[in-house]
């Protein structure tokens, strides 16, 4: 009797396990039903999407709802998931390598992108949706995701490098931000700030690349040249690193606490008014809102100082390419949805409204929607896009190739630290770094 009961229980257990496996994520579908169209016109196609930023996920879900309103004939159910940055990139790489388990769409960050273009890219080419829009967008933002003339990714934003001044500190030192035109002016202003307030003019990332890459891009240099050869140790880069090192030697700048501008320590440091400025790409705005609430109303967004009068005052930095994988069962629909989210005018307006990024379609920058008050204009004032319009033609394209991940890695782990913390000779540091990746 007892034995039979045991067998019965075991059978029930097995059945439950097996059936649970068969249910095929019906729970997940139900949760996403809000994206499904209300009419019973067509059966929605399920699209899966991986991203590494919860804000991106919210954006895509909102775009899926809009898509279903405008395209009732081909509705979609979007199943978007956010994973931690490294986990997502690694899982996607493994899924593409093994040929199974990849989503229909995914976000890939620019410094990882080259990894996915090695060998035969397992990503679908997007030429048919990108090419018709090329005249409306900043072309360099799709060129960075291209290989052999095929486009594989679409960016969210320009990533224009700008400088965020703490006007309260600069006023105390008697510095007018509009007088800072070149990096030499910046150094002079830094001396005044240091003398008047005892605070530093800026912080430099010692474990990341955003204090170096935009500056060399401004003067037409890069990690790699057009032919994707390493030029990390060229004269322009040495001069730039020497300039930064001199700022540190004069105590005008310090290494960012925590090693970078995304560290908990740094947010606290900046928020308590210890530094008069920070130069980061446009997408850094969101970090001020989220982590540095005390600086509200005190931050002015300005073009970067140029290397010489009339020189370029910005650089296109960072980026996230949305891709469609070859494993997708509905590649065409996935492409259309990606284009709708990231290439269309309404998509680009939402990118600004929801994410605070500088959209890649320049024709929407003057549209009334971008002038509407939102959480970003509350924090930084109303003229955010005036700054952006000023610099939109002063952005060099960056060269992204197979060696970009390695170059970026060596800059983050070796170059910045050795030059700005150990104060080693910049020429030697860059030479070592370039040799190690060639």
């Amino acid at each position: 009797m007892r034995k039979r009961l045991l067998i019965l229980l075991t059978l029930v257990l097995i059945a439950v396990t097996v059936l649970a496996g068969c249910s095929n994520n019906s729970g997940g579908n139900a949760a996403n039903d809000k994206n499904a169209p209300s009419g019973d016109s067509a059966k929605p196609t399920k699209l899966t999407l991986w991203t590494f930023n919860a804000l991106h996920q919210t954006f895509y879900e909102a775009m899926a709802t809009q898509w279903n309103e405008t395209n009732p004939d081909k509705p979609i159910t979007l199943e978007a998931t956010t994973y931690p940055y490294d986990d997502m990139h690694n899982s996607l790489l493994v899924a593409l390598q093994t040929g199974t388990g990849a989503p229909d769409l995914a976000d890939i960050e620019i410094s990882k992108f080259a990894n996915y273009l090695k060998g035969d890219p397992q990503l679908a080419e997007l030429n048919d949706v990108v090419e018709p829009e090329l005249s409306n967008i900043v072309q360099s933002r799709v060129d960075i995701y291209a290989k052999d003339g095929k486009y594989y990714g679409i960016d969210f934003h320009i990533g224009a490098a700008v400088i965020y001044y703490n006007t309260e500190l600069l006023d105390q030192a008697g510095v007018n931000v509009d007088d800072i035109k070149t990096w030499a002016d910046f150094e002079e202003a830094g001396k005044k700030v240091l003398a008047a307030t005892g605070k530093v003019m800026t912080t430099l990332e010692t474990g990341d690349q955003w204090s170096f890459w935009p500056l060399i891009s401004q003067r037409g240099s890069d990690f790699l040249d057009k032919d994707k050869k390493v030029i990390l140790d060229n004269q322009a880069n040495i001069d730039t690193l020497t300039y930064l090192q001199n700022l540190v030697k004069q105590k005008i700048a310090v290494g960012a606490p925590g090693g970078g501008h995304h560290a908990e320590e740094y947010y606290g440091f900046m928020n308590s008014g210890e530094s008069a400025s920070v130069f980061m790409p446009f997408w850094y705005m969101g970090r001020f809102l989220e982590y540095m609430p005390d600086l509200k109303g005190k931050i002015a967004i300005k073009p970067m100082p140029a290397w010489e009068e009339g020189g370029f005052r910005s650089a296109g930095m960072g980026g996230t390419g949305t891709v469609v994988t070859k494993q997708s069962k509905s590649i065409d629909l996935a492409k259309q949805f990606a284009a709708f989210s990231k290439l269309s005018a309404e998509g680009n307006i939402q990118i600004w409204k929801q994410l605070g990024f500088d959209p890649i379609r320049t024709d929407v920058w003057d549209s009334p929607e971008l002038k509407e008050a939102n959480k970003f204009s509350d924090y930084f004032g109303d003229n955010i896009f005036d700054t952006l319009n000023e610099i939109k033609d002063e952005i060099n394209a960056v060269n992204v190739g197979e060696l970009t991940p390695a170059a970026s890695d060596v800059v983050k782990s070796q170059v910045m630290n050795r030059a700005l913390v150990d104060l080693e000779d910049p020429a030697k540091v860059l030479k070592d770094a370039a040799d190690s990746i060639k």
């Binding site: 690694n90 090695k118 060998g119 397992q122 925590g258 890695d409 070796q414 630290n417 190690s436």
Partner: protein
Amino acid sequence: MNTKFAVDASTSIPRSSFWRSLPYSKKLAPYILVSPFIISFLIFFAYPVINTVIMSFQEILPGQVKYVGTENYENLTNRQFYRAMYNSAVYTVLTLLVLIPVPLIFAVLLNSKAMRFTNFFRSTLFIPALTSVVVAGTIFRLIFGELPGSLMNEFLSLFNVAPANFKQSAPLAMFIMVILATWRWIGINIIYFLSGLQNIPHELYESAEIDGANAMDKFLKITLPLLKPVTIYVLTISIYGGFAMFTESYMLFAGNNSPKDIGLTIVGYIYKSGIQKNELGFGSAIGITLLGIVLIINVIQLKFFGLFRKED
């Protein structure tokens, strides 16, 4: 005689009773009983190891797998690999120096009758082993933050020591990793030593006392020699554990990115090359090299302690 009977029975009786008699067959039952282990060993250990050896001679890209000879092994002669080897070796030696004597002494104290609240100490020393390395690593990262307000710098300021930038200097970074390992593994090693201590017959101590041995003599002449098997075991797994360390450094340096690679371990380097840079062939070559190194060290150490010698 029984064997013979069983074999005869299984051959002559029809099929249904063959299955019934199977568990009682002295020839087959042992194989059946160990088969789960053998199968899981073959699938989850032998197959990956063999495949890794093959992959270490390949360049693996989606759709383009090709043999590259020993190129992956030739590429190992680079600064990052040496740095990772150096870090892992130093870390292993330091953890051995701390994690064998200290738990041994603690175990002796906890085993002694003179000690009070032993159960309380046993459990508190063991609790860190139950925490997740991810959580512990994150908390240690914050404790050893570089701002003057971080816990450790606040503590140092009580003694008028200037705030230290823990994660920028190689010796301090190594110090944090060893502290984290000590905090986390001390309880486990205490358990090993305690179980060894409880196997030492009490009579030995009594007769030694009669012969006039003091506490120190008893510790050096009885406890230590009789704990040798446990010590060898702890040493072996600690060497392996030291070289296999990854999560701690990954968490302390928020994603495997330590300045000048001061926190890069050999497994961290495998992860960096194989997964983060999509060079699975090169990653496999590092893995095989690591396997070789750990194997050689362990064999030398076991031979040195006479584990392969026949017991008298």
